[in-house]
Symmetry: C2
Subunit: 382 residues, 2 copies
């Protein structure tokens, strides 16, 4: 499935939750499958921290350019593009195409950098809704996302209840716990205290806060995996030398990577620091921190979700300690309190939070079955 | 209970596990209670990451100078200094008095810095044994420690089985998991990539890698606490302003601390960076990584613990995810495989790994009862 990224310009300012606004902006997006005649088969995919609008398919001539949910979305896949018109959109503030801190601020003629306004999940959803308007899509067959993407899917059902028939919320939560915020904060401090950060105006200084980004990514990576899968994948295995694991002596060094988990994390950190923007990292982790639909209802999630009219599928993974199953169960309970139509699957998977991106027969079976159920009314309507 | 720190000089070189050696060194230590006539009532306390020989009591004229296990050790306390002669010792490589990276290398006349040799748990135990020799103590009534201190207590029973009657191993593990090593590695990278680190020779450059130390401490702090206690203590509470939590709007800032958990972590990081030595942090986390008595036995912990003849008390805490109860249970199982005398308590406590330092009636009851049982033979012998 070859795909081509597209871009849409929005000339009207977007008012933001913070009170600021973005005067004009572009959104990068991709589509897969065909929009039916009455435009009732559209599924919007919302991305998490470091993903983009490139959700599925490959770019012509680039074999290894599969989208980040390529295993999930395509012809004959759990979200079947033979039936659905799937839209991937890159969020505002990203570094992968949509307007973000690396772009020029039309108000000043200078790169935004740290001046890019703080964006919330609700702002992203508003921007996504404008994209749907431009595409002529009034109602989504479904909105779907994992992790932070799941928060956007949930927020869609609260901000635009009449525009969403189904919401698929995977490995997500009604808000971050103190521990989640704590990990985000350490990652941000690593970036912000990197001398190459220059208060977020590092572009103007010709530097990149790569040290901070590396640390941020290493922390993130630990929280995406489970203790179990880390032990299985790396355990206490030493970095390979020409000696056997038993014969090999330690390097006895605090500086050299000694264990395989160390070189893995260093590699992940180095790779991330090469392509990810530091200001985007700050913005996206902050959007995670701020999301909390129950806040306006004094913490009462059932009251907060009363507005939602969509049907829901929620999925969580047993070893996910970043967005633990109990957080999904809070959502299930609040939706049931409102007598909403909710399906919930707790998948026994060893891979921690990352499981939402990985092949798993039971997980894919649940998603596939749910979309079979979504497609029927869509087909009847068509 | 007023106490006075002491220091002992060791003129003979200490050979280290790495093959290196320390030519001459000092150990700082304190003692509480009175050594009985036949020197059978000594209890050695081993410290964890950022503690020292100042285990109990206060320094004259300094009211708030309580030792780090002041609640546990003293007259009438669980480890009762009316019965036991308790020794606190600062480990080699520390920054609190014993010879460490901040001191002068007698071989070069320059500050050790990064040249301080890598030290292992086994090396610490050897150095502690020499201190006991110098104090004329052949056999310990008990050796006791929590976390990394528990690893030292365990190692005592393997390196000097004939010199230990009881080992009290609290919130500890037979080795670190991949996840534990991963957190240590991120903390080390934060320090090592701080431009003020200068390859560990920052003393010579007149700098201190405080940014890295702050990040390291913030990461550490998250892992010491449980998700539960963080939610209870901080939850999603915002930093106080003159508005109520409900009325107060977000700052909408990626730079300002917004949530109380953020300012708490920043404060902890700042405080730590003022007093802790970066090279010591690297050495101590590396000692944690390396500890693995089963390694020489192809991972067979039961074989590894066969040498131990001491009686054991092991304690773990339900919400400790850094050294989870299952890690203590591995030790219990391996000791039982060897038909050793083992008591084990799993304390239902919300405080995570930090619980081993905190008051808890059940925990203190277990420790107190165990030492009542230790003291009887000690008394009979006296």
């Amino acid at each position: 499935m070859n795909v081509t990224p597209q871009s849409m310009h929005f000339a009207a300012a977007l008012p933001l939750q913070s009170g600021a606004s973005i005067r004009a902006y572009n959104l990068s997006f991709e589509t897969y499958g065909t929009l039916n005649a009455d435009k009732s088969n559209a599924v919007l995919i919302c991305h998490a921290l470091n993903a983009s609008h490139h959700v599925a398919g490959t770019y012509a001539g680039q074999e290894k350019s599969e989208g980040w949910w390529h295993n999930m979305i395509g012809p004959g896949k759990p979200l079947d593009t033979d039936h659905f018109f799937v839209i991937g959109v890159n969020n505002l503030g990203s570094c992968f195409g949509s307007t973000g801190p690396m772009h020029t601020n039309p108000d000043t003629g200078r790169v935004y950098g740290a001046d890019f306004p703080v964006i919330t999940v609700e702002d992203w959803v508003n921007a996504q809704a404008r994209l749907l308007d431009a595409l002529g899509i009034q109602t989504l067959a479904a909105v779907m996302g994992g992790s932070l993407g799941g928060m956007q899917a949930l927020s869609w059902t609260l901000q635009y209840p009449e525009r969403v028939r189904h919401a698929v919320v995977i490995a997500s939560a009604p808000n971050l716990t103190a521990e989640n915020i704590a990990f985000n904060e350490v990652a941000r401090r690593a970036i912000q205290t990197d001398p190459d950060f220059h208060g977020g105006h590092f572009y103007a200084h010709g530097t990149l806060p790569k040290r901070g980004l590396r640390i941020a990514r290493m922390i993130g990576h630990i929280t995406y995996l489970s203790d179990d899968v880390m032990n299985e994948k790396f355990g206490r295995q030493l970095i390979a030398t020409n000696q056997s694991e038993q014969e090999r002596n330690f390097f006895y060094s605090t500086l050299e990577a000694e264990f395989q988990i160390e070189s893995y994390l260093r590699y992940q950190g180095d790779k991330f620091a090469e392509y990810f923007d530091a200001n985007t990292y700050l913005l996206i982790t902050r959007a995670l921190d701020y999301f909390d639909p129950a806040r306006r209802f004094e913490g009462n999630l059932s009251l907060a979700l009363a507005r939602a009219t969509a049907k829901f599928l929620l999925v969580s993974f047993t070893t996910d300690w970043r967005f633990a199953p109990r957080r999904s169960r809070e959502l299930v309970k609040a939706l049931l309190d409102n007598k909403r139509d909710v399906s919930y699957a707790e998948i026994n998977a060893p891979h921690g939070h990352d499981a939402f991106l990985l092949d798993d027969a039971r997980y894919f079976g649940v998603i596939g079955s749910y979309f079979n159920h979504v497609v029927k009314p869509a087909k009847e309507a068509a």
